[in-house]
Subunit: 222 residues, 2 copies
């Protein structure tokens, strides 16, 4: 089983690395699975914060028919959909061959732009529900949304929940529980502000303003 | 404020990237902080699964006096402490200058080997309590353990909880809540097997056996 994590310049690292760490444990658990990172071009791919440099070995052309696709997000996704980035063509062409097509955070916008979410329930980062709607999807406030073989996860950290859900489907709940234990995933957030409905209103407003400003800068300058 | 994430070949990617994604949001939240990845040598550092290649720009010598140290773990840490790896010297020399010295997962073994945990409560991945004890630390089954300016986190995914705790200390709870909201950290694990006390006994035994075998291979072959 080939699991392709498709990345792009300025992707959010944790969107990809959370699920990666879960999925990369499948071989040790006795599951015949190969995880690989791929991008439009080989070589240096820098993350959203501009601090991590990933040296990516595979191109999208190297993995035209993966069994599973996982697509992370990032503020830059709004530019990628505006510009019809190559990752969207890859997702569209690969999807008919997958057993699961999945996204984390605003990776869902790339699935939507590839035409995969029209008329379906899906989730994404809470700031991006409107963009999802504009592609005919029905934004759904859940941690992970299943629609047939498409799984979408909420913002950033939700990728870990998505990956464990996915492992439950492809390898069974015992393997998923084993990987959960291996990564000691028994979360204890020190605060309870992980969604707009839980965070104090003034904090939601400040975060929305900060992220909107960062996104505007990005869309203007790239 | 300089925050140095110290890595080494075969580190567990999520140990570092979970907290990284939290801490790298400090500048956008108005906090004067710079996060950087450093290693013994510049260049390619491959993760524990052998699949991710990080191109690391800074050496330990470049950041002798960071304000905050964060050290990830990995099965390889038992070899690093056996061989007195350079990261241990870096931690020992830098610690007197830090405001916080922190570890995720078996990164705590490196703090212990640097002599930082003698007589103190600390936590690590559940499989490594015995090694922590052998350095005079008191293994403590908590998600994040505070001992003065030393914070240690449990296995892998606990780094996110540690980083939000740390942000609460250095920048206040409002900033920490804002970052929690930005990464939509409202975890919903699809299973409840994240610690040995919660996982079914046969799953704990299998994971212990698989990880022990992987560790033995690593210690024999490197």
């Amino acid at each position: 089983m080939k699991i392709a994590v498709g990345v792009f310049p300025q992707f959010t690292a944790l969107d990809a690395i959370g699920p990666y760490e879960v999925l990369a444990k499948l071989p040790n658990a006795g599951v015949d699975a190969e995880v690989l990172l791929c991008a439009a071009r080989q070589g240096d791919v820098i993350d959203e914060n501009g601090l991590l440099h990933f040296n990516v070995a595979h191109t999208f052309d190297d993995v035209p028919e993966p069994d599973i696709i996982l697509v992370p997000g990032g503020l830059i996704t709004r530019k990628l959909i505006r510009d019809s980035d190559p990752i969207i063509d890859w997702i569209r062409a690969a999807h008919p061959h997958t057993t699961y097509t999945t996204s984390v955070c605003t990776g869902a916008l790339l699935l939507a732009a590839a035409g995969l979410l029209d008329g379906l329930r899906a989730t994404t980062h809470w700031r991006a529900y409107d963009v999802l709607s504009s592609y005919g999807a029905e934004p759904t406030e859940q941690r992970v949304v299943h629609e047939g073989k498409i799984l979408t996860a909420a913002g950033v950290s939700a990728g870990i929940d998505l990956a464990l859900t996915l492992v439950g489907h492809i390898a069974g709940p015992e393997i998923a529980q084993g990987i959960q234990l291996a990564i000691e995933y028994d979360p204890r957030p020190p605060f309870d502000a992980g969604t707009p409905s839980k965070a104090p209103a003034e904090i939601s407003q400040r975060v929305e303003a900060v992220m909107a400003a960062a996104e505007d800068r990005l869309l203007r300058t790239t």
